[in-house]
């Protein structure tokens, strides 16, 4: 009996010994996989256990956090949500994150290893540091001017600082309040469904996630290409282009909306937006020359992030001569984001040097006491020669002073602009898009302080009278006025 007692004791203890072995397997070997299982709520609980860092515009937070006392404790709230939605995006416990909320999520949520001052202690204590604050480059006055100017019409507006690439305003209209998506409840689900069902697509960020045919504003790019390539050496010399112009290889006649475009000079063609002259110039530069020029401006670049990804603006690389002609005046398959067209204006304003745009100025932790990261100051890229830039500046100023862009003029600043009216839709049946790109330099300043692009999708005007000058230019004017009154940080 003694032997059997010993054996059964050994058996019992063997059973018990299997338990820590199995526990070690689960707790040490499988732990990582279990943590990563999407159904494991612990990640989400930890993520929302501390208030999220704030997103700042003009030094003031445009976000906040609300303690719900629920399992996912802190919920995002937004001050002036619709105004800043294209910048902040949303941070939803149900639908994830977008825009800066997404691009800087690790910093905002406190998960970034850089936030732990003592990493080993963090691993041991498993505490999560408070989220870092993200200061954006957005100037509230410029942002508000654009938002008010668009007034709920479909469209977008972007302002950048030409000499640094700081994005001063990023507006998409109509907008939405990201705060309604913050929680996990039924209200968030209903808001999500409702926002997605709206035909105006309020959650679409038209400033960086939507491309439009740029229309005549693209003529600045074509003109730069022609001047840089030496196709045009004297801007005031006749270009020998008939009006209307028969597209090469076809019988299609390209008309002009303005008078006097027949055999016009480049200067006249920019000032009065002659289609014929610039379509012809595009074919003379050639497909390869145009491709290189647009690439210098940033077209066809899928890698641009501000830090949210920007959809690439398109200029086809394989086209027939007539397609190239149309593309050169911003039609055919040429499409651009409002941000891209703001960069075109900025490159002209900045002497031909293109600064890479950025939206995040600084990331700080511990109530702004510790700076973790600075917004990138990328090396400038040359989009066109300095002489070309100087000439185009001159021509753009003429557009505002004497041409189609008069509505953008400011009394205390030099303003250069370019209007655009882009046909689109099947057989050009849609309401044309009204474009305006411009820059402004205060009279007392050494360099242009702001470059702007505005697009209005549903310009409220009778078809045929729609113009970038009428609908988009006043918005650009208001934005530039706001930008020039803001003291530059440099």
């Amino acid at each position: 009996m003694i032997r059997c007692v010993r054996r059964s004791a050994a058996f019992s203890l063997l059973l018990l010994a299997a338990l820590p072995v199995q526990a070690a397997r689960v707790q040490l070997v499988d732990a990582g996989e279990l943590d990563r299982n999407p159904a494991n709520r612990r990640g989400a609980i930890a993520r929302y256990a501390v208030p999220r860092g704030e997103i700042l515009a003009g030094g003031r937070p445009v976000t906040g956090s609300r303690d719900t006392g629920q399992q996912l404790r802190f919920e995002r709230v937004y001050r002036e949500g619709p105004l800043y939605a294209p910048v902040t995006g949303f941070s939803s416990q149900t639908y994830g994150t977008t825009m800066v909320e997404d691009a800087e999520d690790a910093m905002l949520s406190g998960a970034d290893p850089a936030l732990a001052s003592l990493p080993l202690w963090r691993d041991l204590s498993r505490s999560r540091p408070a989220g870092a604050d993200v200061a954006t480059t957005v100037e509230p006055a410029v942002q508000r001017a654009a938002f008010t100017g668009l007034g709920g019409r479909r469209g977008a507006a972007v302002a950048v600082d030409p000499s640094t690439g700081r994005i001063l305003a990023l507006v998409s209209s109509p907008s939405y309040d990201p705060g309604v998506l913050s929680g996990t409840g039924r209200a968030a689900r209903e808001a999500w469904a409702e926002l997605n069902a709206r035909p105006t697509q309020p959650m679409l960020n038209r400033a960086i996630r939507q491309t439009y045919p740029p229309g005549s504003t693209f003529k600045i790019v074509t003109a730069a290409a022609a001047l840089d390539a030496g196709v045009v050496t004297d801007a005031d010399a006749p270009t020998g282009t008939p009006s209307p112009y028969v597209l090469p290889g076809t019988r299609t006649r390209l008309p002009d909306a303005s008078p006097g475009c027949g055999d016009a000079s480049l200067a006249y063609a920019i000032q009065w937006s002659c289609n014929t002259v610039l379509a012809h110039l595009g074919t003379r530069v050639g497909a390869e020359g145009m491709r290189q020029a647009v690439t210098r401006f940033g077209f066809n670049d899928p890698g641009l992030r501000v830090p949210s990804p920007v959809v690439p603006s398109n200029f086809d690389t394989d086209m027939s001569a007539d397609q190239l002609a149309l593309s050169s005046i911003g039609q055919f398959d040429t499409t651009a984001t409002p941000l891209q067209m703001a960069l075109v204006a900025a490159a002209v304003a900045n002497g031909g040097e293109l600064r890479r745009p950025y939206l995040v100025d600084r990331i700080t932790s511990g109530n702004g006491t510790r700076t973790l990261a600075h917004g990138r100051r990328y090396a400038a890229r040359r989009a066109m020669g300095p002489l070309t830039a100087r000439l185009l500046r001159e021509l753009m100023v003429r557009v505002v002073e004497q041409g189609t862009g008069a509505a953008a003029a400011l009394p205390y600043a030099t303003v250069g602009g370019k209007t655009g009216t882009a046909q689109h839709g099947l057989g050009n049946s849609g309401v044309p898009y009204a474009w305006f790109i411009s820059w402004a330099q205060a009279h007392d300043s050494a360099r242009p302080g702001v470059a702007v692009a505005v697009v209005v999708e549903d310009a409220e005007a009778v078809r045929g009278h729609i113009s970038g000058g009428g609908d988009a230019a006043p918005i650009a004017r208001a934005m530039m006025a706001a930008a020039l009154t803001v003291p530059s940080p440099d």
């Binding site: 003694i2 007692v5 059964s8 019992s12 820590p20 526990a23 707790q27 996989e33 494991n40 612990r42």
Partner: protein
């Protein structure tokens, strides 16, 4: 040096073994302090301040421990000093874990109820230690025990099922799990029956053994009880949907039968019957079948888009604990749901105390089990020996089945972790088990180590009751 005080208060037995009551008191103090510390830590991590009632809580637990200690000191002075502190520590830790889970929304109040049950448990512990002067008295009540056990086991069939298992009696506001008590009664019956019959059983066994592997079925008279018990446990399982209890009863009987007869054949027969029963239940009984499916693929419900099941949530909790745990009050094992304080309380220990803390808890159980087997080795009467084996096996099997279930080692069965889990009947029962172990250890230490028999165990010694007392 506290041992001398212990021996002074409790005179050494005839064999000169010291009682070591001072060691017990020291360990009890440590157990109470650890529990109170856990309570304080939970309060600090959850609210940032020491709970107001920490002193009161500590005093309460300390008073219970002291009363139990006094009972042992007066009535079982030679008893092993380990079981009581282990029980107090596990019970205190259980109260901390249950209290900690109470703090999760929507906010429960299981801990106060558990404290009441623990008090009752300690009361019964004191009663058993005081009233039961000699464990052999129990041998007389073998058939009364089995009758009571069968009644207790069958009564819940007439009550509605709770969470799929028909193992509860509800009266007034109280619910009560009679199967818990039945296991002690069955252990008593098995020990008495086998002590009275093991001579016959082992003789048959030896003959079979000499025939070199030719297995002959034992006589029906001997086999009868095995089959009966097996059928009863499967019957309990089917009618009450209680996989755990039937497994426990069956395992308990096989272990005790093996110890009583020394025949490995019984183990084989037992395993065959168990396998047959398990396969039948696993395929035919939907409730059990679901448990087996959960065990084989705990993440199936996630893949089906229904969210994690309890076992998956339990594994998440263990995984989150890692080596050192999140710290008391900082885990999220409440995600497991309604059974977090009962069946899955070990997951909270795993998450918040880590593998280190969990192993410490398991070592406490292993110590209790090992000590119990130790008394079996020392006791000279077959009844006492078998009872010690049975009670130790009950603890070991329970811990294995429930801890193995929540860690995914074996299919989950609804059983309560001794002392740790919320559940009045369970806490009370386990306190009685510890009381019986204390009583057995007292006898064992008085008796001194058993002589090592060269061959068959000598029967009918002075410790054993006359054969036939049970029959």
């Amino acid at each position: 040096m506290s041992a001398p005080t212990g021996t002074a208060a409790a005179p050494p037995s005839a064999t000169g073994r010291p009682g070591r009551r001072g060691v017990e008191l020291t360990l009890l103090t440590a157990a109470v302090l650890i529990s109170v510390l856990g309570y304080v830590i939970t309060g600090v991590t959850r609210t940032g301040s020491v709970p107001d009632d920490a002193l009161r809580y500590g005093a309460g637990l300390g008073a219970l421990a002291l009363l139990a200690h006094l009972a042992v000191r007066l009535r079982a002075p030679c008893a092993d000093p380990l079981p009581l502190p282990i029980a107090v520590l596990l019970n205190g830790l259980g109260l901390v874990l249950i209290h900690r889970l109470d703090l999760e929304p929507p906010g429960g109040n299981a801990a106060p109820a558990q404290l009441v049950w623990s008090t009752l448990g300690v009361g019964l512990f004191i009663a058993v230690v005081t009233v039961l002067r000699d464990h052999r008295t129990l041998q007389r009540y073998a058939y009364l025990s089995v009758a009571a056990a069968l009644v207790l086991m069958t009564v819940p069939i007439f009550f509605p099922a709770v969470n799929g298992a028909r193992i509860w009696i509800r009266a007034g506001g109280l619910s009560f799990q009679p199967g818990e008590f039945a296991k002690i009664l069955l252990a008593v019956f098995f020990a008495a029956y086998l002590a009275a019959n093991h001579h016959t059983l082992s003789v048959t066994g030896r003959r079979l053994h000499r025939r070199l592997g030719r297995l002959r079925l034992p006589a029906g008279r001997v086999l009868g009880p095995v089959v009966t018990i097996w059928l009863v446990s499967v019957g309990v399982l089917v009618l009450e949907r209680d996989l755990g209890t039937s497994l426990l009863f069956f395992g308990l009987f096989v272990v005790m039968l093996y110890v009583a007869t020394g025949r490995t054949g019984w183990i084989a027969v037992g395993l065959l019957l168990a396998a047959a029963g398990a396969v039948a239940a696993g395929t035919l009984e939907p409730h059990v079948h679901g448990r087996v499916e959960d065990w084989l693929n705990p993440f199936a419900t996630i893949e089906a888009g229904q969210g994690p099941g309890q076992v998956a949530q339990s594994l998440f909790a263990f995984g989150a604990g890692g080596l050192l745990g999140t710290g008391l009050g900082l885990g999220h094992s409440a995600l497991i749901g309604f059974a977090a304080t009962s069946d899955f309380v070990l997951a909270t220990a795993g998450e918040e105390l880590g593998l280190v803390g969990l192993t410490a808890v398991l070592v406490l159980y292993a110590l209790l089990v090992a000590r119990g087997y130790g008394y079996a080795l020392r006791l000279r009467d077959p009844f006492g020996r078998l009872l010690a084996v049975g009670l130790s096996a009950i603890v070991a099997l329970q811990v294995f089945v429930i801890a193995g279930g929540v860690t995914g080692l074996i299919p989950l069965t609804g059983m309560a972790m001794p002392f740790l889990a919320q559940g009045g009947s369970s806490v009370v029962t386990n306190w009685i088990i510890v009381a019986l172990l204390i009583r057995l250890s007292d006898s064992a230490r008085r008796a001194g180590p058993a002589p090592r028999p060269a061959g068959a165990v000598r029967h009918g010694g002075p410790a054993a009751l006359p054969g036939g007392a049970v029959r």
